[in-house]
Amino acid sequence: MTDPVLTTRQKVQRSITRRRRSERWFRASGVMAIGFGLLCLLALFSSIWDKGAPAFRQTVVEFPLMIDGAFLGVSADSSAQELLAADYGGLVRRALKAEFRTAPWQQRRTLYRLISSGADWQIQHLILEQPELINQRITLPLIVDDDVDQWFKHDRPNDLPGRLSEIEIQWLERWIEEERLYTRFNRTFFTNGDSREPELAGIRGAITGTFLTLLVTFMLSFPIGVAAAIYLEEFAPDNRVTRLVEININNLAAVPSITFGLLGLAIFINVFGVERSTPLAGGLVLTLMTLPTIIITGRAALKAVPGSIREAGLGLGASRVQVVFHHVLPPALPGMLTGTIIGMAQALGETAPLLMIGMVAFVVDIPSFVTDPSTVLPVQIFLWSDSPERAFTERTSAAILVLLGFLISMNALAVWLRRRLERRW
């Protein structure tokens, strides 16, 4: 039995089913891959969120306090120095002792530990701003110790045994009955620098350090990167030296970042004497890291400008430099900016090279200039992740959330800028 002779139309029709099937399978595998990726992303985010979100709330206790001027040795006319030096902690302890009069003296240290040592600074701050409150009766929310904070946020709702002793829980339950213990938004996380006390630890120092470091990085890498891209693309002759430079730049983009840290340590810190653990040193190291990215994306942006525009400029009698700066660079700038922002976002998350230049120190003060010792957010996360206290685990995840937030916004900004500026062409 022979097959009937098929017309071309019928042969095409027959192949359609086969082709459609393989296309459907291809599309399905693509969707599955993306779906899997999104699922993993979701799992990652929800795990970090679960761990970190509680850190955005802190437990406080409404504490009625008599600002006893005689005890503190200050009055409404005291100088700022005298106000700064007064023993506000003693005031709190005295009030606690008075409130829980039944506490035997051995337990007093435990009692005092209920309230964070940061309460001293809270009251000091308030009195400095409003010295008229001296000798007044006030009520203010004082930050509690991190053990109390963790117990109130996690252990108590779940009936878990925490690190608190029976008597501490008794005292706290009394406060809860009086409705004085509650959680509020953790401002301290954003206004304080690093601290040994977890309840007082914040990321302000790290954020400022990151900002200063990225500022140095941008101010150095953008002009150098753009200038190098322009030179390599528009002016460099095509000879062996240029080609060698190109190969090296492409390779630098793939060099492990810790190597740049070693370079920074050896050259910037040891030879040029830049201070370690400063935004200046960090910025210099990150500049080296970001330069290859900026140069490569810059060259791509310049190459994308059509040659006809250059010819038109040259034909009118513009010099090569004029053609580059008047006609080639302006349309290429959005692409270069996008590449720079992506490079910055990469630099934002870099930890290894900054560890090498010493940003691993415990820095408490908020840096105000590029030569002040500082740390950056990824390093802060790294340092906190080492600490055993539960409160630090919480804060590590919260800081990760903040870092991710920055990264996402920077990349979103890059995408938005690119779309917005491209339309004008």
Binding site: S308, I309, A312, L314, G315, L316, G317, A318, P331
Partner: protein, 265 residues
């Protein structure tokens, strides 16, 4: 081997604007032009014709040193503009290209407004002293290019938003704005429709009064319509140069005859 090529017709004239002597051009190993000698007279339109790859565009680009932008390109011979060798060492190409303007095959306005396109040349060469003079110069150039009426209400809209024919006239206006003496046109109408083409041919005729024009064209009919002299190139050699009607009615060289009767090309 020293090729002594004999060009038929009248390649030379007494008062020439541009005078080309024994020019040969190589792109790397490949020879694009060999031993071309030609005079281009003032206020004449000369058409350069020939089949693809015969070297006419290369020749044109030599006249304003645009071939300098190509790395592999080597030029021998002499080209004089008003008696001055344009390839002499120390000659600055920037003022040369203001004197010898160029209009390209595909219209290439800058991605700026119509006004800024025309104003760019005068601005970089410092031809005007103030904003009012610039406005006048832009208007004058657009009028000479026959585009003023169509764009006077949208001088600040992007140049790339115009139609093809309008864009090409904008490019012509742009070249006119720097007050050149010679205008080189490299197949200016090949990307345009017949009506836009006719418009530009009219324009070339008007411009002849004040400018010297060399136009490369694929269309023999166009060469016949706009030029006074025609130069026929073949495989890098200048085969014949004669007054246009002579070239198209009684060509001297057999190759010329073969081309214009359509046997090849």
């Amino acid at each position: 081997m020293n090729k002594q090529h004999q060009t038929e017709g009248e390649p030379f004239s007494d008062q020439s604007k541009l005078s080309v002597r024994n020019v040969s051009v190589h792109y790397g190993e490949k020879q694009a032009l060999s031993d071309v000698s030609l005079d281009i007279g003032a206020n004449e339109v000369i058409a350069l014709i020939g089949s693809s790859g015969c070297g006419k565009s290369t020749f044109l680009r030599c006249l304003n040193r645009m071939n300098d932008t190509i790395d592999d390109c080597h030029i021998r011979g002499q080209i004089h503009l008003d008696g001055n060798d344009i390839y002499a060492p120390g000659v600055d190409v920037v003022p040369l290209r203001a004197q010898v303007g160029m209009v390209f095959q595909k219209p290439n306005p800058f991605p700026k407004s119509v006004y800024d396109n025309v104003a760019y040349g005068p601005q970089i060469h410092g031809l005007v002293d103030n904003h009012l003079e610039l406005d006048d110069l832009v208007e004058y150039s657009l009028q000479r290019a026959g585009l003023w009426n169509e764009v006077k209400d949208r001088l600040h809209s992007p140049g790339t938003g115009l139609s093809g024919g309008q864009q090409q006239r904008l490019c012509i206006a742009r070249s006119l704005a720097v007050d050149p003496e010679v205008i080189l046109m490299d197949e200016p109408c090949s990307a345009l429709d017949p009506i836009a083409t006719a418009r530009i041919e009219e324009l070339i005729d008007e411009l002849r009064e004040n400018y010297t024009i060399a136009i490369v064209t694929h269309s023999m009919q166009q060469a016949a319509r706009v030029s006074q002299r025609t130069a026929y190139f073949h495989l890098g050699q200048l085969v014949e140069v004669n007054p246009t009607d002579k070239v198209f009615t009684t060509p001297q060289h057999p190759l010329t005859e073969a081309y214009i009767t359509g046997r090849f090309g």
